[in-house]
């Protein structure tokens, strides 16, 4: 875990955190392969993906809470960028977040299927069925369709995450320091559509830009380009507070994702 004082604990805590996350993501990847076929592991990898996301988010929260000076915030930002640079982690976080969304959309558990199948088996499916029984039968009969949809969604998520990871790798190779010398990207490369947008201030606040990119990756794919440009537009108007703003955007990324995926009944 990134510690309370980023400068002091980074050397000890970060490698442990990375090791743990790598272990989790390796298992997650294996499970994803099975996900399209075996329903019984669904709850397991759903929990795993949530744990992974929660782990990252708690690290960030602890780091932000204790970093009061701009210098400390910058160190935290660097650590986050390094963390996000681990290609496997990056791809798997994308997969995990997307997958959680898909599973929430499907909204049916294994228990639902079993219960439905049991009810249908035990009852005489004659005329005068209750509404509940009809629903149960519908769920049971629809199982194949739902599972096929899930398999397709998982495949799409994995494929998209791989493409995205490649694009990120390319962009980060340019913008992160290598062999002691800081290299900066003339154009921030993420999705190809974003690359068409000129960002005149990119060279002035590379760390903030990278954090914004990290934040928008948590958003649904169709909203990423819009919010990346919107956040950059706001960032350009800030002076010394850029890093603080960018970290705030990272913290708000999951609530924003939630808002974008939900209709509001208030």
């Amino acid at each position: 875990m990134i510690g309370t004082s980023a400068a002091l604990s980074a050397e000890q805590d970060l490698p442990r955190a990375v090791q743990r996350i790598r272990r989790l993501t390796r298992t997650l990847r294996e499970d994803l392969v099975l996900a399209g076929v075996h329903d019984h592991r669904r709850k397991y990898y759903l929990g795993l993906s949530r744990a992974l996301t929660r782990n990252l988010s708690s690290q960030l929260t602890v780091a932000i809470r204790h970093a009061r000076l701009e210098g400390e915030l910058e160190i935290v930002g660097e650590l986050l960028a390094v963390q996000s640079r681990i290609s496997q982690l990056r791809a798997d976080v994308d997969v995990a977040v997307d997958l959680t969304g898909h599973l929430t959309t499907v909204g049916l558990t294994r228990a639902d299927f079993d219960k439905a199948a049991m009810i249908v088996a035990d009852l005489d499916l004659g005329p005068g069925l209750s509404i509940k029984t009809e629903i149960a039968r519908g769920v049971a009969l629809d199982r194949e369709r739902v599972m096929t949809q899930m398999a397709l969604a998982v495949n799409a998520a994995v494929s998209r995450a791989r493409t995205h990871a490649d694009a990120m790798e390319h962009g980060l190779n340019w913008s992160l320091p290598t062999t002691g010398a800081r290299r900066r990207s003339p154009l921030f490369v993420v999705p190809t559509v974003v690359a068409t947008t000129a960002v005149p201030s990119a060279s002035r606040a590379p760390m903030s830009q990278r954090l914004l990119d990290l934040a928008v990756r948590a958003l649904p794919v169709e909203h990423r380009v819009r919010y990346l440009e919107e956040f950059r537009g706001e960032l350009a108007d800030l002076g010394k507070r850029r890093l603080r703003y960018a970290i705030g955007v990272v913290i708000g990324a999951l609530p924003l994702r939630h808002s974008l995926r939900q209709t509001w009944d208030d």
């Binding site: 537009g233 706001e234 108007d237 609530p255 924003l256």
Partner: protein, 105 residues
């Protein structure tokens, strides 16, 4: 409706014709961007807010475009009603529980 949402709506309703971009709204409402943008996204999905990119060339301006928000015609009506409801509920709570801590009626 959360207090933060009420604050955002109050600012927007103060001058419904006025357009704000994220930082302006953040300054006016004293809400951090991480709190503000989820609220704006919800209000936009409800149709209460309209947003559009500023009509400017990023190269000429030397910065990326801003996204401007303002209340939609329907949003003006709905937001006004929602805020009135929220105030009424708050007033009602004050009447029912005039002395919560001490139990004084």
């Amino acid at each position: 409706m959360t207090h933060a949402t009420q604050v955002v709506l109050q600012v927007l309703l103060a001058d419904p014709a006025e357009e704000y971009y994220g930082l302006e709204l953040s300054a006016a409402t004293q809400l951090p961007s991480g709190t503000l943008h989820p609220i704006l996204a919800r209000l936009e999905s409800l149709g209460w807010l309209e947003s559009h990119w500023e009509n400017a060339d990023p190269r000429a301006e030397g910065r990326p475009r801003r996204r401007y928000y303002k209340l939609s015609p329907d949003g003006i009506v709905q937001a006004g009603a929602a805020l009135a409801r929220a105030r009424a509920e708050a007033a009602k709570l004050g009447t029912l529980h005039p002395g919560l801590a001490g139990g004084v009626r």
